[in-house]
Structure formats: C-alpha cells, structure tokens
C-alpha cells in the first residue's frame, strides 16, 4: 500500500486566510480565551501589585521628603532598604520584630502541630470515647477569628500597667498578674497555638485516615513489626501532611495580625505584622513595603524548603474525605483519662473563651467582674450617656448593624465570586490540561498562598489607594475588601474549582456542543448546575474565613467599609470590652448559624467541607 506521507502545503503564517483560520480556531476553544482572560486578570491582581511595591520601595515617595528634603519623588533610591536593613532604626524596625515573629512562629507551630497531630491520632486511630462529638467541637476554632482567645485572655489577665480596666484575675484575687503573663510573647504563643492546632489537626487526620489501608497491606506482606511499620511506612507517608501543616501554620503565624496586636501593641511588643501596621499608620509606607517583601521572601523560602524536602507535588496535599474505618488502637486504662483530657482541652479552647466573652458583655462596669447587676444593655440597650460613652447596645447601634451587614455582604459575595472564579479557573485549567497556559494559570492562582495576609494587605493599600489604570482609588470601599478577599482565597477556591471540573466528564459538554448549544448556554445549563454541589463546601469555607478575617483587611478598613472584625478591634483599642465581647459573640453566632443553615440545605456538606480544607 502506498503511504502518502507528504504533508499538504500549509498556509503561510501571515496570510489573511491563516489569520481568519486562527481566529475561528480560537473561537472553537473557549477554554483558551477564558484561560488567557483569567491569567491576565490574575496577573493584574497578584503580580502587578507585587511589582508595584517592589518599585515603590526602591523609589522616593512624597512622604520621604520629611527625611530627605532634596529627594526627587519617583527617583531610584536605596533609602528604604538602608533604613530597614542598615540604618540606626534597623534593630527596632526589622531585627526585633523578625526575632519575635520567628520565635512566636516556632513555638506556635511546634505546639500547635503536635497538639493537632496528637488529637488527630487520638480521634482517628484510637478507641477514645465521644469521637463524633469531639470531631465536631475540635474544628469550631476554625470558625472563630483567631484572636477570640486573645480577647478572652485580656479579659482574664489584663493588668493595670497600661491603664484602663483590669481583668478578672485582678478582680477576683486582688493581685495584678505580671506583665509577661498579661501581654507579649507568652500569651501570644498560647493564644495562637490554641487556635492554630486546627490546621495540624485537619491535615493530619486526613492523612492518618488514608494511610492505614496501605500500611496494613504492606505490613502484612513484609511481616514488619509494629515499630518498623511506624517508622518505615506511617511516618514517611505522613511527612507530606506534616510538612504542609508546619509550613501552613508557620506562614499563617507570620502574617497574623489580630492576636499580636491585641496582646503585643499595648506593651510595644512588635511582630512583623504589627510593625507593618505601625509603619503604615505612621505614614512610612516605604518601610512597610520593605518589611512586607521580607515577609514574602521568608514565606517563599519556607515553601521552597518544604517542597525540596517532600517533593513539589506532595507538598500541597489536599485532604481526602475517605472514611475513618480502620483498626482502632486500644488505649486500655488510658481510655478515660484521654477522653477527659480532650474534654478539658475542648472546654478551654472552645467554651471558656465564649463564656468569658459572654460574661464580659453582661457586666455593667468594665473590670468589675461580679454576678450581681448583670445587664443585657450591651446587647439590647438604647443609648445611655452614662454607659460606654453613650454607645447603644448591639441591636440599636447603627455602626454595629452596618458592620454586621458589611461582614455578611462581604462573606456572601466573596463566597459567590470565589466560587464562580474558582469554577472559571477550573474550567480553563482542566479543559486545557497539558497546555502551558493551564500550568501558568494554576501557578498564578496558587501565588496568593505565598503572601502572608498582612503583606497582601500592604500591597493592596499601596496599589489601590490611588487610581490605578482604569481602576479608581478603592481605599475605603467595599470593593477593595472583596477584591483582596477573593484573591487571598484563590489558591483554595481554584483547587475546589479544578476538583469540581474534573468530575464533569468532557463528553457531557461536548455532547451539548455538537447539539448546537453555545459556550455560554453550556455553562448555564450544564457546567454550573453540575458543579455547584461540589463548590458549596468550598464556598461555605470561603464565607467562614472571610467573616472571621482581620489580618488581611485591617489595613484597608475605614469607617466607610467597616466590618465586624475591625469593629471588635476598635472597641478593644478604646477599652470598650463589653462591646467587643458582645460583637465577637455575635460574629461567632452568625458564622456557626450560617454553617448550620448551609449544612441543612445541602444535606450535611458543611463539616465535610471543613475536612477538605
């Protein structure tokens, strides 16, 4: 048989026919257009701001005139770098906060991940009692702002060194706790560790739940004893999850703002994040940008080290929701003590802070912790000039109600937008699998992961405080809050979007195509309806994280776009502890309530969503 191997003549690249062909071809591949579009927008929202602050930190800004009257605004300079790295202020600006942050990060990660891993082991692998209840309770801190514990700590241990009211401890025992108990390093570490163990717990319980079957098989085949199996199989298999838990927690801690601000600022104990905040407040944005860049470089370094040790693919384990059915390890005589231990832990981390804040919100005079004369004024009272500078209770306060509305609006719109954007990215990435574009898209969508929250906030304030291209100045608007929240959640939501798209077989869409249904209608009729159920838990998670977020948006908040978390922070700064307690409880109730509603509506997807976070 003659094989006609010769290619037919191709069109010259720049002929009109070829151009029209390429145009039609492009129209034929909506995922390409969408991919390019997503990539462009993401690039604009993620990479451009980064270059912008690099540029700003290397040029003179108008406020630098105060130090360098002869400086030419916009001219290249190492002034900011010198100030931060070598100048006389370097120790205060960089070294001290850096050491504090690293120290806090180290201890919190060590404690949090061990506690989380220990709890995961107890709940997944052993025969401890009340597994279901503990499982549900232990993840509650995930639904609360990370600094609720700090607020509770202040209520408990505040002393008089700073002025203002004193805490319960003083009120009950008449003794002032020393400064190192009330503020600074120790309480920050404790409060953060008791919150961030959740990450370690979620990651490790997922990994533990999937490791076992493999372990059993391999162990049975090779006849290893229990210790050998632990070290040769279990531990290596858990390493990726452990590595991720460590890196994730550490980066979060580096970027966290609420707790170090509440417990550190009163005694001028600075971490990196609070130093960035302070520099921006002092209108030294150059310093803030340089510090933010240092923070990003550190985060990248940690991710890089982790991925070098564990392998780039494995280093970002996504949790699976596989069943927890495996051989339980009998705890024997330790069964009840372990159960009681976990109960105490749950009470301390979940219920105590709530109760303390509730009590706080019910006492009439700040600092006087009694059970007499408890009042619901801060919840339901009208404005009274004698109490709390005339600030009315929650349900009468337009400020609080507006902030509540803003928070919910932000949470819901971020969830919807993130769900939608995640789906679009998922669509472009999955349909274009294997292409360079698809890889880039996934990469850029992952990029916000490396920006510690406070640094991203600093970047956005730098970029959007003045008009940028066609975008007007966004400072103080709802839009900028939404924008930064959506961007920060992208690594997670694009993953959910990709997962949801992977479950929709290509042929389902192609059938519609062949039947003459255009791209937009295919999205509306097929892709979106089929993926919503997969996206719901992701959207719920976005809602929760948005509602409790402070670090990310603190720099961008102003009276015009205030949300609940910012309001709580403000009340606390003004020492209006009843209000901050009441509003915090309100926030937690809204989040948990929303979680329950979604769970009921979607048939129990709520918590499983947390598991896959």
């Amino acid at each position: 048989m003659a094989l006609p191997q010769t290619d037919r003549p191709r069109l010259p690249v720049f002929s009109a026919r070829n151009i029209s062909y390429q145009f039609y071809r492009l129209r034929n591949r909506p995922e390409l257009i969408l991919g390019v579009l997503c990539l462009a927008v993401l690039g604009l929202l993620v990479l451009v701001p980064l270059f912008e602050i690099i540029h700003d930190s290397l040029t003179y800004q108008s406020y630098d005139k105060a130090y360098r009257p002869d400086a030419e605004v916009g001219g290249f300079t190492l002034f900011h770098l010198e100030r931060v790295f070598t100048g006389p202020l370097s120790y205060a600006l960089l070294i001290k906060p850096l050491l504090n942050s690293i120290g806090i990060g180290f201890f919190v990660t060590a404690i949090g991940v061990s506690v989380g891993a220990g709890l995961a082991w107890l709940l997944v692998r052993t025969n401890i009692h009340f597994k279901g209840t503990f499982g549900a309770l232990i993840v509650i801190p995930y639904m609360m702002p990370s600094w609720v514990l700090a607020l509770a700590w202040l209520s408990l241990f505040k002393n008089d060194r700073i002025g203002g009211t004193e805490g319960m401890f003083t009120s009950l025992f008449g003794v002032q706790p020393p400064d190192w108990v009330s503020y600074g390093f120790l309480p920050i570490v404790i409060c953060l560790a008791l919150h961030y163990y959740v990450y370690g717990y979620l990651l490790m319980s997922g990994a533990l739940a999937t490791v076992d079957s493999e372990l059993e098989e391999a162990g049975a085949i090779c006849g290893m004893n229990r210790r050998q199996r632990l070290w040769r199989i279990t531990v290596p298999l858990l390493m990726p999850a452990l590595g991720s838990a460590i890196v994730l927690t550490f980066i979060r801690i580096l970027g966290t703002f609420g707790t170090p601000a509440l417990l550190g600022l009163p005694v001028r104990f600075f971490t990196f994040s609070t130093q960035i905040y302070a520099s921006l407040n002092a209108r030294n944005s150059g310093d803030a940008y340089v510090l933010a860049l240092v923070l990003i470089v550190m985060a990248i370094t940690f991710i890089w080290i982790n991925s070098r040790i564990i392998g780039i693919r494995k280093s970002f384990v996504t949790l699976t929701g596989k069943g927890f059915r495996q051989n339980e390890i009998g705890l024997g005589m330790w069964r009840w003590p372990a159960t009681i231990g976990v109960s105490i832990f749950v009470v301390i981390t979940v219920f105590m802070p709530m109760l303390i804040l509730l009590w706080e919100s019910l006492i009439i005079t700040p600092g006087e912790y009694t059970f007499e004369g408890l009042t619901a004024h801060f919840w339901f009272g009208e404005s009274d000039p004698d109490i709390a500078y005339g600030e009315p209770g929650i349900i009468h306060s337009p400020g609080i109600l507006t902030a509540l509305w803003n928070s919910i609006k932000l949470g819901v719109s971020a969830a919807v937008v993130n769900g939608f954007v995640g789906l679009m990215i998922g669509y472009a990435a999955v349909r274009g699998r294997g292409s360079l574009l698809s890889k880039w898209l996934e990469g850029v969508a992952f990029a916000p992961y490396i920006f510690p929250s406070i640094a991203l906030g600093a970047i956005y304030i730098g970029m959007f405080s003045t008009p940028f291209g066609p975008i007007p100045a966004l400072y103080g608007t709802f839009a900028i809050l939404l924008l930064i929240t959506v961007v920060k959640n992208l690594p997670f939501t694009s993953r959910t979007g990709i997962a949801a798209m992977l479950q929709i077989d290509k042929s389902l869409e192609e059938t519609a195509r062949v039947q003459g249904i255009g791209w937009f209608r295919r999205m509306v009729q097929i892709i979106i309806p089929m993926s919503t159920s997969g996206l719901i838990s992701g959207m719920l998670l976005t809602f929760i994280t948005t509602m409790r977020e402070l670090s990310l948006i603190i720099l961008l908040l102003s009276p015009t776009n205030m949300v609940l978390t910012g309001l709580i922070f403000n009340y606390n700064e003004q020492d209006m502890t009843q209000h901050s307690g009441a509003v915090t409880l309100l926030l937690v109730m809204v989040i948990i309530g929303m979680n329950l509603v979604v769970r009921v509506l979607s048939g129990g997807k709520g918590l499983s969503g947390l598991k896959s976070g």
């Binding site: 048989m1 039609y24 071809r25 389902l508 192609e510 519609a512 062949v514 039947q515 249904i517 255009g518």
Partner: protein
C-alpha cells in the same frame, strides 16, 4: 440525504500520529462503519468530523458545505455542524430528567413548545421510553440510558449521525437487541451515518461499507462481503473473522507449468490469475471453508482432532496434521472425541494468497 467527505485527514498528538492519512466518502444515506483495533484512530476520526478535534491537515465536507479545510483556512465549530453524536459513555446530563435531556438542545434552538413536545413524544415512542420521561439517568438501566441517548439524537433530526462504540457498555443480549434497533433507526431516519466500533460482528451486521483502520491508516474499504471474503491484506484477513482465519506460509514451485504452493502437508494449486511475486507466499482460508470427513477420502489430508468446542449452533474444531494446525468451523453441535482421526480438505476457491513482504492480497478483487 447528504454525503460526508474526508480528504487527506491527518492528526497527531504531540508528534505521535493518531491518524496518518485518511480519505473517506460516506455516500448519502449510507451506513459506514470504521472498524479497527484499539488505538487505531477511530475516535479521532469521528471527533474530527464532529469538530471536536482539529486535524493537522485535510478537508472535511458535510453535504456540500466545507466544514474544515486547513488549506483554505476554514473551520466551522461543532455547534454549527448540525450533527448527531452518540458517545460510548452516552453522555447523558445526570442533573436533568430524560425529558430535559432530550429537549434541551431543541429549546436552546428556540423551537416552539408544540414542536418540541411532538418531537419529544415521537422520539420517546421510537425508543419505547415514553413512561420514563420524568426519570433521571441514574434511575435507568444501561440499555435504557443508551436509548435515551438515541432518542436525543432522533429528536434533533440531524442529517448526519456519528456513533462512537454506542453498544460497548451493554451486555451481550442487549447489544444484539440494540443492534437491530439501530439498524431500523438508520432506515427510518435515512441519515448518513458513521459508526465506530472494534466489534466485527457489529460492523458486519450493520454496515453498508466497512472501513478497516490500523495504526492511523485505512487498511481496506469495502462492503462487508468483500472485507470478509476478499481481505485486501493480511491484517484485514486476520483481524476479521471469529474463529480467526487459518494461515499457511509456503514456498512456490512450478510443476508442469502449474504453480504449486507447498505449505507443509498441503499442496495448493495456484489459480492462474494469481501472479506470484516471491519464492514464498502466504495462503489463508476461513475455518468454515475447510471440509471435514470422519471417513477416509481420496486426496484429503489425514489429521487428528485436537479440540472440539461446540458453541450451540456450530462447532469449532482444531485439527493437527504432521506439519500444521488448522481451525475449522462446522455447522451443528458436533460430538466427536479428541484424538480421533479425521480427513480434511480445503475449498480451493476460497483461498487467498498474500505477498509476505507487502502483505497485499495477490488476487485482484472482482
């Protein structure tokens, strides 16, 4: 009724050719089957016709419309090709009822609701699924799902039908049933059909024309009769037929002006229109074209029964002579004992001869 024409289609995935070169004409209203082993490029061809893949070269015409031409820079998106396509997986939308699955495309075309309803009803009747219109795909059996996919195709009233192994997910009995259905459907709709399968029975029973593909190339194109009886090359001869064809390699000698092929125990006299090209040739014969006798017959080859496999209506026998092994297919349920001596004889008019190098059939067709 309109024809489908493919001209010089080539398609590679990352430098790996999936379709090397393909010319195909599907006559108006005819049923053409693309048959070939896994990975030979059948699906790629079908997807190219549908517009779901872009060939690297070549032209495709649907009716008198050119829908793809690399050299003229034409590419019509699948949405505008007005085809009906059934996937191997049926691709029913799981979140829609049977009714919505069938009517979605019609409604998107903005047909009047009366028209949509009448098309829905006639399509459902045709596949006998009328009582199931409000079920979801997950509530249907595999065969019913397959029929929904067919109904969706019918309702569209397309001039062209493309089907990619639509029966491969069904069990054997249902497959036979649905085969008959599809045949009837094709007659009623009078649509030009391209059917892809790797099942030769489907190909032989359904098609007007079969195209056998291998490694991205067309091996042979012809009616089922031709493909079966006059395989164009060794690949087709061996690929088609179950039990597989018998194959002998032998050396060619000329005795008294008559060409003889000596294959082990067999002496085959070459027909005069076979022009031998080499010293050795390959001869093939289908199992049913070898006769068998339990009594000794003059000139027949004595062999021993090696295995007997009755399949019901027929029996597959394997016999062994000193130098060769043969497979035979005999009608009826035969009860013979392994080890018995039997005598066999080939029907010489049914033997095909091939060049071992080019693998081409030496008997010109006709």
């Amino acid at each position: 009724m309109q024809k489908i024409v493919l001209n010089g289609i080539q398609k590679s995935y990352a430098k790996e050719p999936a379709v090397r070169h393909l010319d195909l004409i599907v006559e108006p209203g005819s049923f053409l089957t693309i048959l070939g082993p896994s990975g030979c490029g059948k699906t790629t061809t079908l997807r190219s016709i549908a517009g779901l893949e872009e060939p690297d070269a070549g032209d495709i015409q649907l009716g008198d419309r050119t829908v793809f031409s690399r050299s003229q820079g034409i590419i019509v998106p699948p949405e505008q090709r007005n085809l009906g396509l059934i996937f191997q997986s049926y691709a029913l939308w799981p979140h829609m009822t049977v009714e919505r699955n069938i009517t979605l495309a019609l409604k998107e075309q903005k047909l009047s609701s009366g028209e949509v309803e009448s098309r829905l009803q006639s399509a459902l009747e045709m596949v006998q699924l009328t009582p199931y219109r409000n079920r979801y795909p997950s509530e249907l059996s595999g065969g019913q799902q397959q029929r929904v996919a067919v109904a969706r195709l019918i309702a569209l009233r397309s001039q062209f039908l493309l089907m990619d192994e639509p029966l491969s997910n069904l069990d054997a009995k249902l497959r036979t049933e649905m085969r008959t259905e599809l045949k009837r459907l094709h007659r009623e709709l009078e649509a030009t059909t391209v059917y892809v399968t790797h099942d030769q029975i489907e190909a032989l029973t359904l098609s007007d024309i079969i195209v056998v593909m291998n490694g991205g190339l067309v091996m042979q194109q012809g009616t089922p009769y031709d493909i079966y009886h006059h395989p164009g090359n060794l690949f087709v001869a061996e690929f088609i037929g179950d039990p597989p064809i018998n194959k002998f390699t032998g050396s060619f000698i000329r005795e008294d002006g008559v060409g003889i092929l000596q294959c082990g125990d067999h002496r085959l006299t070459l027909p005069c229109h076979v022009i031998p090209t080499r010293e050795t040739l390959v001869a093939t014969i289908r199992p049913e074209n070898i006769m068998i006798s339990e009594q000794e017959k003059d000139g027949w080859l004595k062999t021993t029964l090696d295995s007997v496999q009755p399949t019901g209506a027929s029996t597959i026998l394997q016999v062994k002579s000193e130098k060769s092994v043969m497979t035979l297919l005999q009608p009826g349920f035969m009860r013979m004992a392994v080890g018995d001596s039997v005598w066999v004889q080939m029907d010489m008019t049914k033997v095909n001869y091939f060049d071992p190098e080019t693998e081409q059939n030496l008997i010109s067709e006709g």
